[in-house]
Symmetry: C2
Subunit: 324 residues, 2 copies
Amino acid sequence: MSDPGPVTAIVHAGGAHVLPLLGRVEELLREVAAGHGPVLAEHAGSTIAAGGKRLRPLLVILAAGGEPDGDGLVRAAAAVELVHSATLVHDDVLDLAPLRRGRPTVFATAGRAAATQTGDLLFARAFALLARNDSPEQVRALSDAGSALARGELLQRSDAWDATISLERYLRRCELKTARLFEACCILGALEGGAGSAEALREFGRRIGLAFQILDDVLDVAGPPEKTGKHRGTDLLDGTVTLPFILARERDPDLGAIDPRAIATPAAAEAICDRIAATGALDEARAAALEHVAAAKAVIPDGLAERERAALVLVADGVVARYS
Amino acid sequence: MSDPGPVTAIVHAGGAHVLPLLGRVEELLREVAAGHGPVLAEHAGSTIAAGGKRLRPLLVILAAGGEPDGDGLVRAAAAVELVHSATLVHDDVLDLAPLRRGRPTVFATAGRAAATQTGDLLFARAFALLARNDSPEQVRALSDAGSALARGELLQRSDAWDATISLERYLRRCELKTARLFEACCILGALEGGAGSAEALREFGRRIGLAFQILDDVLDVAGPPEKTGKHRGTDLLDGTVTLPFILARERDPDLGAIDPRAIATPAAAEAICDRIAATGALDEARAAALEHVAAAKAVIPDGLAERERAALVLVADGVVARYS
């Protein structure tokens, strides 16, 4: 998903109604950014305009199936994106990140306080928007995902610099910080559309969320920097131990003995990345991600039309395409 | 409300059902803190245990009137307190505050990142809890209040260090950062109970919220420190220009010419407080707050029983009692 190609293919496969719905989501996001005070307009406007691939709104739309009338669906899709944006804004504050998607972050342009409150405001607007759908189940799904995001980040930070964290704990973190919001996309779509089983769609979302996070973690080690836009090993420099390292330390016990705090420079981090790659752990991690992708495709519900089914297969494949 | 006396009187006046309901709110808050991961349990547990006066949950309960069965009401009351707590946790991060209510803040014990995420999590749990009431109106009321809180803080920070801000802009900030959540308490109570007019109760909440904030701002200038627990003039030191200063600069034009950034020490801030007091602006600000209290009492709906009406009068008076 690093280039627009796969998303375009997904939108095309999903049918003629998908692109107009995505356009309405954009419009609604702009309305939210513009309608709640000048400070939000300035900061959230740029955050929202910076965009991204809108993968999550797209999932909401595809999971709904059919050609729903749309107002509720558009609100649900926008609400998910607002929660996602709120999280990014807060993460950038915590990471002191100057840039995201090649643009200055809210943190960089407006400072810590304005960025923290911009995130809070985006979060609150997400629920205000979703409440209009008159579906407590939707609110519950999104607020549970919001809780999970925060718990996942908390877990990541409490596990930071620990080279011995278990595979289980790593996977738990992926569930919380990534998979749950993908699940919520599918549940919201299913609740608005009703064409496919909500449980099967939830599992689809969970699986592609896990694959997405695992491949993200592989990319951090594998690079190449000219594609990822960052040095290899940035996670390690932040103290974040991920699947490639966990698998590699089984094969190269000296790796397990490393104190992550001792990895102090990009060059040192890249050297560790090379050692991880040398163990074959990257292939093993990729294989784990591909298993999740395959499992995701296998649960796409029959209740959906062929068109949505094909588009969801492309979504699952797109998670891998980021990487090829 | 600085001592437990007035709250005890309010609880007593409200009837025998109020105290058990408040107890159930406490229990639910403890459940939420304990049930979402060890990090939240540690940090939110201490935040929630540190408590405060539970004025907002109490307002929700009183605004409901009668003796409602309670599960929905207890959830609504707890949800409001969770949003309030989330805001406090984030404010402490932004203010780098070591203590709140005499206890170390989450920021102080766990750091910036954990505190930011703890706030996010409390916020998300508030909506998850409230969604169980199956009332989109309640979710909307609380998310609108959450947006207002963030907008109010944004406004305060964008107006910081500006000695010329208008009265209008100050009042707008009070509406957003304080009054809206009090309004939401009353609306939630009215929606759960249905005994009193939601619009009248909303106005009650708004008025006592404004009075609460104005008197808070008066206390910051008037002290005494042995009662407020802080130096006089801490708002000025933070660059926050409030009603006493705005009124005083009309009477003492030299004050209006001051650059707040030049007020660099507690002693300098106290000297400005003395000058503000000398103009009589504190009495004028108090009078404005008392007008809001009187207006609040005047709108208490007839639909409520005598008991709740009496308790709400005490709530309104309690805002002033903090100060005497």
